[in-house]
Symmetry: D2
Subunit: 312 residues, 4 copies
């Protein structure tokens, strides 16, 4: 698949469904990919946070990849995320696995050295130079404060100048000006992907696609925002954006009040929406109690998610 085709995709770091015995629920996964795909969303499988990648064995990760490739059936490029590995060797090994399974691209995290150690600039640059020449797939580079540190923009700029197979750039940082100037610098040179909360800003600076997790819950609304911005329909963009903000704020607040991490909440929302599968959590995440599931269903009702997403 030509990386130029990746340019204005809305990539969703897809949730990974488990059944009541905690096993990968392949049927639910297929249905989830079909649903998102039918709404114009490209699924990035088994990622670190919203894909619960760290809770999957290598074999399970590869199986998830295969299923998504099958379900995508060429309708969207299947990009996968490396685990947060510390060494070049492990990153290369994983990229090879992705190549051999017919994937279309790979997201390369910077090296995760444990204990939130922030690699210095030289370490980051050397790491990428050790890895990139051995990866044949198109590469998405990213700097996400959620890994505990930032990759300086200058490192990514230099890599981009040297490695033609870098097809996209993603950045998330709590300093909005930091993000804004990174988007402005990178957009003329590569595809910039962003999350939905920052999308109105990033779009004006040249970001053409998204990489986020909210599409797991509201693919139609997310795609509507993407499309409305690309067609210049500000009224429709405004409506969609307000709904995404409202849904994210509500699910985040629910998690804080109930002491639940994001993915157990997301899975509870999918159950409340009646999506196929039991969407069980895997330890160490705990299942929602019946009372929690019932309170969450009320939140989903108030948001009108079923109607908005055409599921009612």
């Amino acid at each position: 698949m030509d990386p130029a085709q990746f340019r204005s995709h809305s990539f969703c770091m897809g949730a990974t469904p488990f059944d009541d015995q905690g096993r990968l629920d392949e049927d639910a996964l297929r249905a989830h990919v079909q649903w998102l795909s039918s709404e114009g969303i490209s699924v990035l499988p088994a990622s670190a946070s919203s894909g619960e990648g760290p809770l999957l064995s290598d074999e399970e990760v590869f199986r998830v990849w295969e299923i998504v490739v099958e379900e995508a059936a060429g309708r969207f490029p299947v990009v996968v995320a490396n685990r947060e590995f510390p060494t070049a060797a492990e990153n290369i090994r994983f990229a090879r696995e992705a190549e051999s399974r017919g994937l279309d691209g790979i997201q390369l995290y910077p090296p995760t050295l444990g204990h939130v150690i922030a690699p210095t600039t030289d370490v980051l640059e050397a790491f990428y130079e050790d890895v990139l020449p051995h990866v044949r797939l198109p590469v998405l580079v990213s700097s996400n404060q959620a890994t505990g540190f930032e990759v300086p923009l200058a490192v990514h700029e230099r890599l981009l100048a040297r490695h033609e197979h870098i097809f996209a750039f993603y950045k998330n940082h709590s300093d909005l000006m930091n993000c804004a100037s990174a988007y402005a610098r990178m957009a003329p040179r590569t595809t910039v992907l962003t999350g939905f909360v920052r999308l109105p800003m990033a779009f004006l600076l040249g970001a053409t696609g998204e990489l986020d997790h909210v599409q797991n819950l509201m693919p139609r609304t997310a795609r509507a925002l993407h499309d409305a911005l690309h067609t210049g329909d500000l009224a429709r963009a405004s409506t969609a954006y307000a709904r995404i903000v409202e849904a994210q704020a509500a699910t985040t607040r629910f998690g804080q009040e109930e002491g639940l991490n994001r993915m157990p909440v997301y899975k509870g929302v999918l159950r409340a929406l009646g999506r196929p599968g039991t969407w069980a959590t895997r330890a160490p995440y705990r299942p929602l109690s019946d009372e929690q599931q019932s309170r969450l269903a009320a939140v989903v009702d108030r948001l009108g998610l079923a109607e908005l997403e055409g599921l009612a």
Copy 2:
């Protein structure tokens, strides 16, 4: 002036010019207000950070107010900012001064207790209840992390329900979702003002005006972004937004590299643009060295500010 008229203004916390002896430079101030006003910008005088309010005596603050009122000549509403006072009494006294000078509105900061003490919710609410009934001017309430703490949204929501003379709401917080959900909640109920970096996001959530300092340097570009969003011209919005981001990133980086706070840099930019006055700094800020001024002029050239702003 009817507060409804404040709804889609672009308020600039105007810089305060000093002459070479460190005195208020009234002529330069008048020229600055005329320039901004002619570009469609409303000047909010003598504010805390970009107006260098803490470096002005009360008498100087009042003089700045008077000059701005004279120069505004009814073309824009003159809203002023209270100092960051700890007590209700001082806030009320200042508001009285504003009333007696014919101002159109007042921005009320939450109580600043010294040592970055974060007032608890009860203290905040009680403070506003002590102050608001004694203020007759339309009031702009704000929560700006730059004061060292946040006013919980619920406090401002309750105040808004009880006090009809609150005409606008401003919020700045490093957590973008926090800002977004505040804008979404408040926009249906009052005028929401925002800064330019967050404007694309805030506008989609119902923010109709701005409160910022970048208009001191690029009023035409700032107004262009405001207008482009309000008329739905995304291409023009994109161009203006990218210029604002680029200019802010460049001046911030210059300050960091040269060890200069923001306002000395801003005044150096105004000198480089040939704006009337010497735009001297007042102690404890230090004047830029000739070398610094020269390097800053090169930055201003690279940004093409003079051309963009019609000053070339």
Copy 3:
């Protein structure tokens, strides 16, 4: 008074008592100073946070100074704190007031520019150079993250080399190594003062005195820790330190649970201990409800403060 005498004092930023009408309660203040003094504590009056200085008028501040000087009667040096002023002129004016009232030293805060603006290194250094030559009293310089920023150690080191009337150094920073290396660098050159939580560390690095607020509640225990360390009695130091940590943790937790800032809690403790005066709060602080005061009294009982402090 010879600054050398300040060397191993335990300075308490004394609480300021108000009566039920919110007026300065001079009798309670005198009793408070006598109590602390009788336990070997030196009172630093009307400071920014624990002295509620920002809630006092200039005249009230000066009156508090005078009363403390009278009650000290030469038994301890009376050092006062400047307000957090932005300009040299205001700092010098305040220092003059202190000189004319017979005070023994003055704590000079770095310039507070409003909106938690962090002055750059050059601004800090120039500010001190503008102020210090005009201050005749011995000067305590400090860097307290509670002002919203840090004074780099190098600035204080250069000042110390140039100004002989700097008699002491205080530093508080969340990075413990930052504090530790500052204490180690400064202790051979001047008196280092520290807070009680960091005292065991700072004492080993040469700190000879304290500057804190916990002595308002437990002067005897605080002095016991000071003395035990100075005499090398580790068992006694351990007992006293554990009590201070337990009391601080308990009062902080109480404030968090009840939504109260520190000083209203402290005053409630003084009421629970039966100290003279009503120890009312001044707006914008709110008085504790009867229920809160009763719950706080239970905390004070559990801590055994009355017995520990010889008040039972």
Copy 4:
């Protein structure tokens, strides 16, 4: 080995030496363990940060354990650290490996879910309850902000009440009062271990041992501080503590100025001290340039480390 014997040990998270080909340098490792052991330090091998555990394969980790057990020869208990695993199953598997290799205890990290996701209280508690019944070795529980989040004290308190084989508690947090009150609460109930910078504080609150990495560079000085506090020799404690603070500040500053992470600097110090082995770094860490090694040697000289440690 009886866990009661672990009570006043000084555990060093031992550095892992590599040779010029990047392989585990077994001879250097043996010499390092002998050196530390001869100075009274207990080596905790292959830990997350200072042991570069994430850069080692499982087989290498187990080999390091075996070598340390052999060299310890019963003179100190060999406690090992689990990797930062997300699942109970992987933690149990690793603990089994430790049991089968005759180790004396195991440090159990909380679950690391990737992307610095902070597990909620329920997740943490459930995780430990899934793991602890299946671990037969004495267990050290820890809460280290360096993992990106905190384990609430209440979780560890409840675990301690239920699981007799928890033999020690470690906590590191930037809020000093948080640490202090945790030490005070836990010290009467279990062995509290702390790092050297917080040791003077923690010792007074009942901490009887240490868990740190500075002993890799200065085991004699570190042990001297431990012993001086335990024997109540404050003068000797003061000297040793000042040296540790000075050395840590100097190596940290060197790393910041040169763009080097901690372990490459530590290894450079060991080379400068002439310790056996080449102490090469493993990718993604970069080797120091000759100029960097030479500048670091000058730092080591200035600190007088060779003399202090009896290596000159």
